[in-house]
């Protein structure tokens, strides 16, 4: 059990991911305020530049990890029958994996 993402590990994942997301959102806001792109193409190039892509990928990983721990906690609180809990967790996992694949496709596979 100690190796699983539970207890302290889950709590740390949620805190660390929240801090990263906060910094990334502040970085986005500051960027768009200080140096806003003047066209779609400029924005597109900036968004798909290597550094921003990596930072954005980490942001999405942090978001999915944060959501996994948070929603899993809610499910553990409210859904007590084992079958229903497994179903809800599977649904959550599938949803997050699907969303992750979509993000990967946009950020890394859609480069022309």
């Amino acid at each position: 059990m100690r190796k699983a993402v539970t207890g302290l590990r889950a709590w740390l994942v949620q805190r660390v991911s929240a801090i990263y997301m906060l910094f990334f959102i502040v970085f986005l806001l500051v960027h768009f305020l200080v140096d806003p792109p003047n066209s779609y193409l400029a924005w597109h190039d900036w968004a798909l530049s290597r550094g921003v892509s990596i930072a954005a990928s980490v942001f999405w990983v942090a978001l999915f990890a944060h959501a996994w721990v948070g929603v899993r906690d809610v499910i553990m609180d409210y859904v007590h029958p084992i079958a229903a809990r497994v179903f809800a967790l599977a649904l959550l996992g599938l949803g997050l994996v699907g969303a992750g694949a979509w993000v990967a496709r946009i950020l890394w596979l859609g480069r022309g």
């Binding site: 100690r2 539970t6 207890g7 302290l8 889950a10 709590w11 906690d73 553990m76 609180d77």
Partner: protein
């Protein structure tokens, strides 16, 4: 004074109900418990637990106008009428305002609420510096009235698995005790999905504690200690 009191006698009633009372407050009735005892003088079927009458024993913890507290140290002056009295939320009702605290005390016992030290006992006593002793302030004063645990949503959802704020405050009281030698075992025991980490920092516990203690701060300190030890 008008009161609406939760009544349930499992031998007689199929369902609980609220009963209205109106009593004349006497010149020496300062606290809510005085008024409840005045009602009891009229209706001796009303059941309540009480003992010390001065906020030390924690027996008369009830839900007063939606907020847990000790009847004996709740002044009647500031209460909105009708004063609605219910047993502690989420605890099984034995009768009227008396609840079954078996699970609450089982959680308390699960944290091993005693100093664990296998070193040879000194001739007189295990000494503690004034600084180490001061670390127990705000922890040892807990009277286990259960006001905090009964008002904690995390305890409502998982009362059998989550230790609850009162138990965790006591856990920290022994974790931080310089005479205790089982710190790591205590931290390991709490490091699972439920026992400590069900706490979502709602902080009802600190809000309602009639002794002015802060279980949520103790919980935070346990978490930070775990982080420190894991690094």
């Amino acid at each position: 004074m008008k009161l609406s009191i939760f009544r349930f006698n499992p031998e007689r009633d199929k369902r609980p109900y609220m009963q209205d009372y109106e009593v004349e407050i006497g010149p020496h009735d300062r606290m809510l418990l005085d008024v409840i005892l005045r009602i009891r003088a009229q209706d001796d079927s009303l059941t309540i637990r009480k003992s010390c009458r001065e906020g030390v024993c924690g027996s008369d913890a009830i839900n007063i106008n939606g907020r847990n507290g000790l009847a004996c140290i709740t002044p009647v002056g500031g209460l909105r009428e009708p004063v609605v009295l219910r047993p502690l939320p989420s605890f099984p009702v034995i009768r009227d305002l008396v609840v079954d605290m078996t699970q609450f005390f089982a959680q308390y016992h699960s944290i091993k609420p005693y100093v664990i030290n296998d070193e040879p006992a000194p001739e007189k006593e295990r000494l503690q510096s004034p600084e180490d002793r001061a670390k127990l302030d705000g922890l040892y004063e807990c009277i286990l009235c259960a006001c905090c645990t009964s008002q904690c949503p995390s305890s409502w959802w998982n009362p059998d698995k989550f230790v609850g704020p009162a138990g965790l405050l006591q856990a920290y009281r022994f974790i931080i005790d310089s005479r205790d030698r089982a710190t790591q075992e205590r931290l390991d025991d709490l490091n699972d999905a439920y026992r400590l980490f069900r706490c979502r920092t709602i902080m009802n516990c600190t809000e309602v504690c009639p002794k002015g203690l802060a279980p949520s701060r103790a919980i935070e300190k346990i978490r930070l200690m775990m982080v420190k030890n894991s690094l």
